[in-house]
Amino acid sequence: MSLVIEGISKSFGVVQALDDVSFAVEPGRIFGLLGANGAGKTTCMRIVLDILRADAGRVTWQGKLNTDLPRDTWGYLPEERGLYTRMKVMEVLRFFAELYGVSEADATREVEDWLERFRIPEYRDRKVEELSKGNQQKIQFIAAILHDPDVLIMDEPFTGLDPVNVQLLKEAFLEMRDRGKTLIFSTHQMETVEELCEAIAIIDRGRVVVDGALRDVKRAMGRQVVRLATDGDGHGVEWIDGLDGISITARRADFVELRVPSGTDPQLVLTAALQRGEHVTRFEIGEPSLEEIFIEHVGRPAADEEERHLAASSRGDGKEAPR
């Protein structure tokens, strides 16, 4: 039985944050919730967690309404990180564990285990405020899983982490999945989703524009991508634009990316190139990337350059709060 979100809508005053959102998450999987800032990801998560109530629709996990489920069903990593910064790491984590009814001995053992895994065992008795942002985020992750929740909900878990810590967190995700947990996380970093998620939902302005298994989503696009390189080094490839609906989507340093609509045989490109006497050094047929799928459905990238820069450099109050 899975986590089922059925037709939830929520508005804050005149702002419609979610409009008839439905999707399902299979248990034991990692699920990606994609969307630009303000698309409604956080509101959706808060409704699943029952810290906000939807105006319409319902959420069930294993057939039970989320409003009837015990709190320890869920583990939550909010987008806005926050801990009691003047308390020691172990104290803070024990406190949250105690709220979920975890015994002190169990909590201590688990915390030590995870600190070891995250390679920060020496921070056990340090105050949270003495830790770097990245390390605080690891503590926050531990706080979300100490009570062994069935479903782990994480809002932008990778934002603000350096590559080493991103890798550690990815490993932790896989570890949790191997323990049979269900993981849902939101992001606008497509590469991470391609790497981790088996299924996704893309939300745009409060609506689900596409959802399902990643493979199916890609196939459903009904088109293919051709990467082509010739001795011409990307010069003089304008002739391609004239072919049956095929268009150039990107010019890279040593190849061009072409979009081939469904119903057109990608081989056509190769034939045409050879007929023109081009010397083909690379010809590759692939599925569209998630980034392309996102742009196709939403009409713009998940994060523009400025947003990425902001997300990486600061963790301020960038997120629009619901009104």
Binding site: I51, Y76, P78, E80, T85, L99, A144, P322
Partner: protein
């Protein structure tokens, strides 16, 4: 109610230990305890400072006989009270010299007495005493007495008999309720006690209420809130916060009140040591039996205010907003405070009786009325019952504000938005 625990307890314990452990708490408590000790010793200190103050007044009259009789009379009247202040009254034959002395500050005042054409005495004081100076009142009253004595003498009353005319009237009071605390000899002490309890209640409500509100706002601005509300229910969070902060506040209060009591106890010894026997300050008759009922209503009232403070605090995203959003609570708290003061002179007025069972005011009114009048058992019962009801209602209301408020950032924090939160909350 049972689902509040154990989470409320966990939250309360964290709140208490984190607060009590800080240096600020320790220093503030120590300073306040010193103030409390000083307050307890105030009567002795006051006596020590103003006890040996002597007011020098010269009396002048062109009529030598009138001058000397006025001096004698004023000496007697002004030094009759045992308030400690003493008056040194001298005769001044040379008015101009005395006037110069007053102007140079060697004398506190010059009182000129003249007998007019109609034989009436008139007094004229030369002094730099301000309009609120108690000594000026005392001299004025004494002058009136001298004048009345003079009129009686002119009317042919024997000066020896004149004394008995001013003797106080015998006036006995028999109370229908023999248990009444309103016995004249205890009254002064009870009055002091009533004042003290009303002020203590007010300070606790405002100070610790603000603690609770800012603690909630801090959790909100540090964003730890979102984690908290997934781990515990708003009612558990509110109750825990109020209990934890309340316990820390109570600890501070006990330390301060304890120091004040030690001061009170010490002052008897000190007064005897400094002023010899009879250095009493009149506070030995304090009725301590009021402390238990006051304690109960104090704790109830504190929790009522604190719960609402916590709810309102959740509307504030920043520390600056707290003042604005908790304004109405301070207003209500002050209302109870002033109502209790006004009611001290009419503890059995209808409005005072009504207010004293209403939970926002009962912690002020009931103990005050118990000290200065009688509180019927049904009033206690009704007051306690309403308190419990209001506490449950406040917890429900505040939890609704809280569950919506903690997720709202960057909007105006006021009562209207709080009310909107109540309506949209889950």
């Amino acid at each position: 109610m049972m689902d509040l625990f154990p989470n409320a307890w966990t939250i309360a314990r964290r709140e208490f230990t984190q607060r009590v452990r800080t240096k600020t708490f320790l220093i503030v408590t120590l300073v306040l305890a010193l103030v409390g000790l000083g307050f307890g010793l105030l009567p002795v200190i006051g006596k020590l400072i103003i006890g040996d103050q002597v007011t020098t007044i010269a009396v002048h009259s062109d009529d030598a006989e009138l001058q000397s009789s006025t001096v004698a009379a004023l000496r007697l009247i002004l030094n009759a009270s045992d308030e400690g202040a003493t008056y040194d009254i001298t005769a001044a034959d040379d008015a101009a010299a005395a006037e110069a002395q007053v102007r140079s500050g060697d004398l506190d005042g010059l009182l000129t007495v003249t007998r007019g054409a109609d034989d009436e005495l008139s007094f004229d004081a030369l002094t730099d005493a301000g309009p609120t100076d108690q000594r000026l009142f005392a001299v004025r009253q004494a002058a009136t007495q001298v004048n009345i004595g003079d009129r009686l003498q002119r009317a042919g009353v024997d000066p020896a008999e004149a004394g008995s005319i001013f003797a106080p009237t015998e006036f006995g009071v028999t109370r229908t309720n023999p248990e009444s605390p309103n016995i004249e000899e205890d009254f002064g002490a009870n009055y002091v006690m009533a004042y003290a309890l009303v002020i203590l209640t007010f300070m606790a409500v405002i100070t610790y209420g603000t603690w609770v509100a800012s603690s909630v706002a801090e959790e909100k601005s540090s964003r730890v809130m979102e984690l908290l509300i997934t781990a515990a229910s708003p009612r558990q969070l509110l109750a825990g916060k109020v209990l934890g902060t309340g316990a820390a506040g109570l600890l501070q209060y006990v330390a301060v009140a304890g120091a004040a009591v030690v001061g009170f106890l010490l002052q008897g010894l000190l007064a005897t040591a400094l002023f010899g026997e009879g250095g009493s300050t009149g506070l030995e008759n304090l009725d301590l039996s009021v402390l238990l009922p006051w304690g109960i209503f104090f704790v109830g009232g504190f929790m009522l205010y604190a719960i609402l403070y916590a709810g309102l605090g959740s509307m504030a995203s920043r520390q600056e907003d707290i003042q604005q959003v908790t304004g109405p609570m301070i207003f209500v708290g002050m209302g109870g405070y002033f109502a209790a003061f006004v009611a001290m002179s009419m503890p059995d007025a209808g409005w005072a009786k009504i207010l004293s069972v209403i939970p926002f005011f009962s912690p002020y009114m009931l103990p005050m009325r118990m000290l200065l009048s009688n509180v019927a058992p049904w009033e206690w019962t009704l007051g306690a019952l309403l308190m419990v009801l209001f506490l449950a209602g406040a917890l429900w209301l505040a939890a609704r504000v809280y569950s919506a408020g903690v997720l709202l950032y960057g909007q105006r924090a006021n009562l209207r938005s709080a009310w909107r939160a109540v309506r949209v909350a889950r």
